[in-house]
């Protein structure tokens, strides 16, 4: 059976048994809104799930039932026994269909018009007449001719027992279940074709059983104690090598460890399990709503406690559904406002400082502030003047209130105002929080933060002032040991400790000071720095000693200690002692770096290192074809060689040498080969992937590090311009000019169009994984009057977008590791921030097909990698075009 279907059956049969009880309660307490709300939700969930599974009969019955329940809830209909009977009848009908579904994996034929008509009549308040005639309990079965009459044995069979299949795929119905079944069980062949009623039992009683989580919890506690006892025993035997206990104890130890792991594993599951249904749901939704939706799921393997997983499953489904339904605009509207047609819903899960964060974001229209205000006033949640005093973000929070839905119309998908309040309730039940951010026109994002209550993390145990603490390993980057005589000690800037770490200043936090631990007076010989990362903010925590890492089970701290943001929990170590778990997030927050700020700063630093605009460049200074100094960025030069003149050969009249198993063409700087008469000749070897070329020079002068600021641009080919390097005017050679000369398949024209004065240094983002090309193009483009920011991957480029950088054009390589140029273009186009920036693709493969594909994903133009002139002219024209358009 389809996983999805079997899970649906399990869930629904649970819901139905709850419903029966709840409905009976409702009949007795017709005015209890809580019971009513509960029933409504259950039916709503059943309806929603059926819709996505493509079960129209079920969906229609549930929908009609929900309508009536909705009227109850809104007080428009009175809860009468007749009404409840009708609802119960529809529940029975649902059960009937489900039973058939379980055996045949399809809905029975037949129609529910009679029941739906009654329900609709009830919903419209026309049910004042006689109570509906009790319909035959199983009309549908009669209508299905090929269905055998249920045998008495089966009819007498008890309802499916509580242990029901888990998420595991249920064993296929063709597996006969031995024993326990009445002998009436049909032969396997019959099961496959005819599906006798007995198969119901075998399908449900699968190989997995449901175990109460509390039982697992108890097991876990017992195992923890076992571990502690084991450790004590080991301690006692240690040092007594000849102990007769040594061997059995070792065995005990192994088994204990295995047992511990096993018990822990029973509780942990990747969050992807909870997401398994979503792609299908979104797909169906996109068909139903006629929207194009791209669902991205990141971090699906983030492990999470089973119990927590169960509890967030439904909220997540709700939220994704909401994002797709309410959040994303219809395709037409998206087109009209210039957004990419395909709406995006992104799910992202990750661990962060003792929490699991799940983000659900869409690039839709954002929440409608005015509608929410209206609704809030309508529902009496707030008055107009109260709303005036609130910020938009505060007003958005109203969507978490019960009975709140801003959808204009009730669709079968959502819009009844169940959902967000359930979402919040469920999340808060497990001690989590849900945050909402929304920007009109840009989309909204929900951030669910769930404490790792029972999740297992690896933690580094450190000591400070004789107290031990655990730091989640996940946020630890590295450890640095600082001794009195190490090269760089801890330095102070007005009492703020910092450490020089690989040419960067690392801010330090003293755990002792932070936690107000007793300051020991003696000067330590050595201290340790735990380099920690929160978001992209990196800092060091000063501790006295570092012990081992241990797998720990995070337990929440007592409520009276929750206000201390420095701790994310506490745990019991292997030796039985209690230890506090430090929260790097909290520490970062307290030391004056909120996560957000840190991100921005770190990204800035990153970019500063990446951009070549003002950085120093290593330059190789040489002489060739004259006495004046020439220079080329050292990064471009693969090697410096001296070749023996004897080895120079000629082919087609061009000089070349055999170099490392390949032929390397030799090029002279001024086109005239002025080889020395004898001896050796220095050659600069330029290399990019399979191409190698030697530039013959007269003399290598020096390597200097200086700012490459071309002050005079020269008109002659092969020269970028003149710059002052190490105090001397030096000609900067355009290596890109010489490369094509060596190989026929490279372009070699030289009618450059240097800097157009009309532009005020347009900013260009260059994305290329090859340092060679970045180094080649950056000076070239800056000489042409552009401000160039170069990054080595599409991810980095998108980081800049997140940072809010703006560019006039983007030049991107196509073949890159990780995200390719095509994917990058799609990513750029799919977000409105950069959607208007002209993009130029750069590739060594320039076939017609590539051009076509490039255009499709959003590149404005496609240029072969070595066609510098085309690049420059294209850049100029596309920027001009986009400026003109804007």
């Amino acid at each position: 059976m389809d996983d999805l279907l079997s899970e649906f059956l399990t869930e629904t049969s649970e819901s139905l048994s709850t419903l029966d009880v709840a409905l009976v309660n409702l009949e007795q307490n017709p005015n209890d809104p809580q019971i009513l709300g509960n029933i409504f939700r259950l039916v709503h969930t059943i309806k929603g799930t059926c819709g996505f599974l493509g079960l129209p009969r079920l969906e229609h019955v549930a929908h009609a039932g929900e309508n009536v329940l909705g009227k109850f809830r809104d007080g428009e209909l009175e809860v009468t026994p007749a009404a409840v009977t009708l609802i119960l009848q529809s529940i029975d009908r649902i059960k009937l269909i489900l039973g058939h579904l379980e055996q045949n994996e399809c809905e029975p034929e037949g129609s529910d018009e009679d029941l739906i008509a009654q329900l609709n009549a009830m919903a419209e308040g026309r049910a004042g007449g006689p109570p509906p005639p009790p319909p035959p309990p199983m009309p549908t079965f009669e209508s299905v001719a090929r269905q055998p009459e249920p045998e008495p044995v089966a009819a007498a069979a008890p309802p499916p027992p509580e242990p029901e299949p888990d998420d595991e795929p249920a064993p296929s119905a063709s597996v006969p279940v031995p024993a326990a079944q009445p002998p009436a069980v049909a032969a396997p062949a019959a099961v496959v074709t005819g599906a006798p009623v007995e198969a119901k039992e075998s399908a449900v009683a699968a190989q997995t059983i449901r175990v109460n989580v509390e039982l697992l919890e108890n097991l876990m506690t017992l195992v923890s104690e076992l571990v502690l006892t084991r450790n004590q025993l080991l301690q006692m035997v240690r040092g007594k090598d000849d102990s007769e206990f040594a061997t059995p104890l070792q065995r005990l130890s192994h088994i204990t460890t295995d047992l511990q792991e096993g018990v822990m594993k029973t509780r942990m599951q990747p969050i992807g399990n909870a997401w398994a249904k979503l792609p299908r749901i979104v797909r169906d939704l996109s068909v139903e709503m006629n929207k194009k939706i791209d669902l991205q799921m990141l971090g699906a393997d983030t492990e999470l406690d089973r119990q927590v997983l169960e509890l967030i499953k439904d909220p997540l489904t709700h939220m994704v559904r909401n994002s797709a339904d309410h959040g994303l605009e219809p395709t037409e509207e998206r087109k009209r406002i210039g957004k990419p047609e395909i709406g995006k819903v992104v799910l992202n899960a990750y661990h962060e400082g003792g929490h699991i964060i799940i983000e659900i974001s869409d690039d839709g229209r954002g929440l409608n502030l005015d509608r929410i205000k209206q609704k809030a006033i309508q529902n009496g949640l707030a008055t107009e003047s109260e709303l005036e005093a609130l910020t938009p973000q505060q007003i958005y929070q109203f969507i978490f209130k019960a009975g709140f839905s801003t959808a204009e119309k009730v669709t079968s998908v959502s819009g009844r105002g169940v959902g967000m309040d359930v979402v919040r309730t469920n999340i808060e039940k497990i001690g989590g929080t849900v945050e909402l951010k929304s920007v009109p026109g840009k989309g909204s994002s929900f951030v669910i933060k769930i404490p790792l209550t029972l999740a297992i993390v690896s933690a580094l145990i450190v000591e400070c002032a004789s107290e031990r603490f655990a730091i989640p390993q996940i946020s630890v980057l590295e450890l640095v040991r600082v001794t009195g005589n190490s090269e760089h000690g801890i330095e102070m800037i007005n009492n703020a400790p910092v450490l020089r770490l690989r040419d960067r200043l690392l801010p330090l936090v003293s755990l002792k000071r932070l936690l107000l631990l007793a300051e020991d007076t003696e000067e330590r010989q050595e201290t340790f720095i735990v380099v920690t990362q929160v978001g992209t903010y990196t800092f060091g925590i000063i501790v006295d000693r570092v012990f081992d890492t241990e797998e720990i089970v995070v337990k929440p701290v007592a409520p009276i200690l929750r206000h201390i943001s420095m701790f994310s929990g506490n745990t019991i170590l292997g030796d039985g002692s209690v230890i506090m778990i430090l929260d790097p997030n909290g520490i970062a927050g307290v030391t004056g770096e909120s996560g957000l700020l840190g991100n921005a700063q770190a990204a800035e630093a990153q970019v500063a290192r990446e951009s070549h605009a003002d950085a120093k460049t290593s330059l190789l200074v040489f002489r060739a074809g004259g006495e004046d100094l020439k220079a080329v960025p050292l990064a471009l030069v693969a090697r410096l060689e001296e070749i023996d003149l004897q080895e120079i050969e000629h082919s087609h009249g061009k000089p070349m040498v055999q170099y490392r198993g390949h032929l390397m063409p030799l090029i002279a700087i001024d086109g005239v080969m002025n080889f020395r008469d004898e001896g050796r000749q220095p050659v600069l070897v330029f290399s990019d992937q399979d191409h190698t070329m030697g530039l013959v020079v007269d003399e290598i002068v020096d390597i200097v590090e200086d700012r490459l600021r071309v002050e005079l641009s020269a008109g002659s080919p092969g020269i970028i311009g003149t710059a002052v390097i190490a105090g001397k005017a030096t000609t900067i050679i355009d290596a890109g000019y010489y490369l094509p000369q060596a190989f026929g398949d490279w372009f070699g024209r030289n009618d450059k169009e240097f800097g157009n004065p009309d532009f005020h240094a347009p900013r260009i983002l260059l994305v290329d994984d090859s340092p060679f090309f970045r180094n080649l193009l950056t000076p070239l483009l800056s000489v042409a009057g552009y401000e160039v920011i170069s990054v080595e991957s599409a991810d980095r480029a998108l980081l800049l977008r997140e940072r809010g950088d703006e560019f006039d054009a983007i030049i991107s390589d196509i073949e890159m590791p990780g995200m390719s140029g095509f994917e990058f273009a799609q990513a750029v186009r799919s977000d409105f921030r950069w959607s208007q920036i002209p993009m130029v693709a750069l590739s060594s493969h320039a076939t017609e097909k590539d051009f076509e594909r490039g255009r499709q994903v959003g590149f404005n133009d496609y240029i072969a990698k070595f066609d510098r002139d085309a690049l420059l002219s294209t850049l100029a024209s596309t920027i001009a075009a986009s400026k003109g358009a804007a």
């Binding site: 107290e467 007592a558 409520p559 009276i560 201390i564």
Partner: protein, 161 residues
Amino acid sequence: MNQIVPAGKRQSTELAAPETQDFVTMFIEGQLFGIPVLTVQDVLGPQKITRIPLAPREVAGSLNLRGRIVTAIDVRLRLGLKKRAEEKKGMSVVVDMGGELYSLMVDSVGEVLSLPAAKFERNPPTLDPHWREFSIGIYRLDDKLLVVLDVGKLLDFTRNE
């Protein structure tokens, strides 16, 4: 529906006439205290306690009780008394509060007493306001007085400060 008796009424009648109530007794600086026996989970001798930095002063730390983490509260400090002398070993009474375990550190733990309601009295108005907050009332024993501690208030750190 009308057979349901309002729950509040029934309970109050039950509460009003308890014959006797059982208390675990404990001593702090010679003063006798008591807490209802049913709230007590465990009585512990001296334990290894992990300090919790930045915690309120009355929180002595946390300890491991058979795999559960218990927060230790120094009742002396809570009552505004001086810290116990280092050399004297104390005892603790473990109570459950909203699913969390707390260990109340006292000087010593005595026997369980069954006390008749007739000997119960409200706090005398002259009682130290600090104590009045944590005391439900007083039982008159033959030779001394027993202060009934309000565990809920004792563990409610949000109210003061």
